[in-house]
Amino acid sequence: MPTEIENLNPSVYGKIKEREKTANDEDETIVDPFDKREIFDLIRNINDPEHPLTLEELHVVQEELITISDKQNNVHVNFTPTIPHCSMATLIGLSIRVKLLRSLPPRFKVSVEITPGTHASELAVNKQLADKERVAAALENKHLAEVINQCISSRS
């Protein structure tokens, strides 16, 4: 972890309300495809590595930056670092990716990329996050795995 915080005063935003339960949610006979909101609910409470805030509160993840096709088994998430030189971008992307890989059925192809134009090393970070061999090797690194687990464990 860094000793100096890069972005001392990030903008903080509100959280959305919990999804309202409908009668259909309880009905096991109704096929309920994954939607944007469900993906968002999985990742919005990931902790920022630097601030005692969630990725949702920092607008690093937003529901409108998620695309999902349940039929084609695709999930795509764009995330927006709070500053364009954020050195935590790879770690944040890795946390989102790991959270989704652990939560979603394995049929899904998950891609996690920086929102275009919001980071100085956008392409390099995207390439690293897309390389499943590097991601697998990173997760075998005990220290890194601990840091990621801290990010994706909910505080509440």
Binding site: P106, K109, K127, D131
Partner: protein, 331 residues
Amino acid sequence: MGRLILEHTLQGHKGRIWGVAWHPKGNSFASCGEDKAIRIWSLSGNTWSTKTILSDGHKRTIREVRWSPCGEYLASASFDATTAIWSKHECNATLEGHENEVKSVSWSRSGGLLATCSRDKSVWIWEVAGDDEFECAAVLNAHTQDVKRVVWHPKLEILASASYDNTIKMFAESALDSDWDCTATLSSHTSTVWSIDFDADGDRLVSCSDDATLKIWRAYHPGNDAGIATPDKTTVWKCVCTIAGQHSRAIYDVSWCKQTGLIASACGDDGIRIFKETSDSKRDEPTFEPLTTEESAHEQDVNAVEWNPVTAGQLISCSDDGTIKIWKLIE
């Protein structure tokens, strides 16, 4: 059109399977993955089963296994930064030197040289000095990024390597000072080159990439009749064919059958595809057509494919879904 018939689905490994390798005799194979174990499988009657599990050699994921040409030795490359050499189910030697994950290992045609590569950007060449002795002959730092795969030429002591830096490089020993030099850099892919394989003669190479294309490269030697310039009297490799629009995600492996000339690809879209050179294909502008596509060959990414070196048309594959499949191609 051809068809891939699924002959066997094999389970045994826990989790993702990264690599499979046929024994040179074609009657057994080895597999490896994130469970840190190597399994050796063989056929008895009509059933493939695990004959041996080698589980105490590596501390992390085993990325690739390769048999020596004589079939006596098995080499394994691991994320624990080492390469292990196995003989008769025992670990004979552990090669150390890479700074981090070893991604690939390859034996030269004679079995006298071994190559390894790593995320540390280097390619190492080892000389087999004795039964369990390996001496480092060269450390090659030509790539600027992670090196994903090393493959020796099928006839000559020429090494090809594929990298996260989007290029493929060729290495050969200089006749002047017996140093290993990079003799060619093959650039055309727009993202990571995951794997490469030579054809039977070694005059052509196929590569597969994260950019979802396959490319065919041809060697032009000094004095070639196509009139391709060869500066410094060094063989030049040119991309002569790109197979695009067939795969929908990263292609993780490719195998060029030395007997039939067919090309098989393993894709991150769960598919296995077979390509055949067309009858009117030209030497300097070859054309390939899809022979068959098995769209959901596995339930998750296909990580490796390899043609049986003896039984033509038999193909093996492995996947993130934890299974190994054996296929038969019907043309």
